[in-house]
């Protein structure tokens, strides 16, 4: 895949994030600790997959090579994916899933709020539709993080471990590279450095209420959104997610 067009890359980042996280969250379907959470997680996964259709649909149009959103989702390999490393991380226990969700949701909401002011009307329209869904996502995941953190000794220990595990994946979301800078300069996407300040204030408030300690480190894994080096988990996820289109090319329903 060419990386010559930063706008195409940016749209793939948005769509790949929601696609990969949507798939991850859907893995809970039928396995959640209680029925109510099972349905809630499935709803969130479906919201994310719906947003993927819009982002990758626009990406395919912008690319102009006759590919569709489905082609981008089902027929690219690991190195072509532009999703951040955090979304491909395994579900782990319920706390790990919800911590990953909360950190992503908080970034996602700020990003979408910024994108509603994008000078690209198509981007602003997609963001305006998605932002309502994501407001609910962050409310739910935030409440659950607080409930587990400020819960029993066992739930506190597990969700603190999840925060320690996930925190090094936060930095990538906010570290601008050439694509982010081009999008900022073009007025398409918001300033990640500014976003990070709001993010840290919001996350700190929730963690304080959850009695959780944010790791005192800014070390950040990277290589997801550039496609340079995904973790081993993405390949396994794609094997599962893309299996049907690979085994039965063009299969439809």
């Amino acid at each position: 895949m060419s990386t010559a067009d930063p706008y195409f890359d940016f749209l793939c980042r948005m769509g790949d994030n929601t696609l990969i996280l949507g798939h991850r969250v859907s893995e809970w379907c039928g396995h959640s600790p209680v029925l109510e959470e099972d349905i809630a997680l499935a709803n969130i996964a479906l919201d994310l997959i719906g947003q993927t259709q819009m982002w990758l649909g626009l990406a395919a149009e912008v690319e102009g090579k006759g590919r569709t959103a489905d082609d981008l989702a089902m027929l690219r390999d690991v190195w072509d994916f532009r999703s951040a490393l955090i979304v491909e991380q395994p579900n782990g226990d319920f706390g790990q899933t919800l911590m990953r969700q909360f950190l992503f949701d908080t970034w996602h909401l700020l990003m979408l709020q910024g994108l509603t002011k994008s000078c690209e009307p198509r981007v602003a329209e997609i963001a305006a539709k998605a932002v309502k869904e994501v407001m609910y996502h962050v409310e739910r995941s935030g409440d659950t993080v607080i409930g587990l953190g400020d819960g029993t000794e066992e739930s506190h220990t597990k969700i603190q471990a999840a925060l320690d595990l996930m925190w090094p994946y936060v930095g990538e979301l906010f570290t601008p590279d050439a694509v982010d800078e081009a999008m900022l300069a073009a007025g398409i996407a918001p300033d990640l450095t500014e976003m990070r300040k709001t993010f840290e204030a919001q996350v700190s408030a929730v963690m304080a209420e959850a009695t959780l300690t944010i790791p005192d480190s800014r070390f950040a894994h990277k290589g997801g959104k550039s496609g340079f080096q995904h973790t081993e988990h993405l390949g396994h996820l794609l094997t599962n997610m893309q299996w049907l289109q690979r085994a039965y090319p063009g299969a439809n329903w």
Partner: protein, 94 residues
């Protein structure tokens, strides 16, 4: 020891409905979580515009064995039904 969250009864006011209607029950740790769970379990196909949740233990119910004394006296009293009046159209739904 029971590890389940408390049970809540869920009432939803539909898009065009005038009153909340009982739709089912669910488990949740507190009332905020009960409303969120109700939103996810019972309104995912756009069924409602307002949600009530009530702790199930706060609902007092009649006993099934009391049906005779409770309901039978009304069975043969057709004059209790206001079906003998013409209601003007302007009144709307009653």
């Amino acid at each position: 020891m029971r590890n389940e969250w408390p049970l809540w009864e869920v009432f939803i006011r539909g898009q065009h409905g005038m009153s909340h209607r009982h739709v089912g029950s669910l488990h949740a740790a507190d009332e905020e979580m009960a409303i969120k769970n109700a939103r996810d379990v019972y309104t995912r196909r756009n069924e409602g515009v307002s949600i009530w949740v009530v702790p199930a233990h706060h609902i007092a119910a009649s006993s099934p064995s009391d049906t005779g004394p409770l309901y039978e006296p009304s069975e043969s009293k057709v004059y209790r039904h206001p079906t003998f009046f013409d209601i003007p159209d302007d009144v709307g739904a009653m």
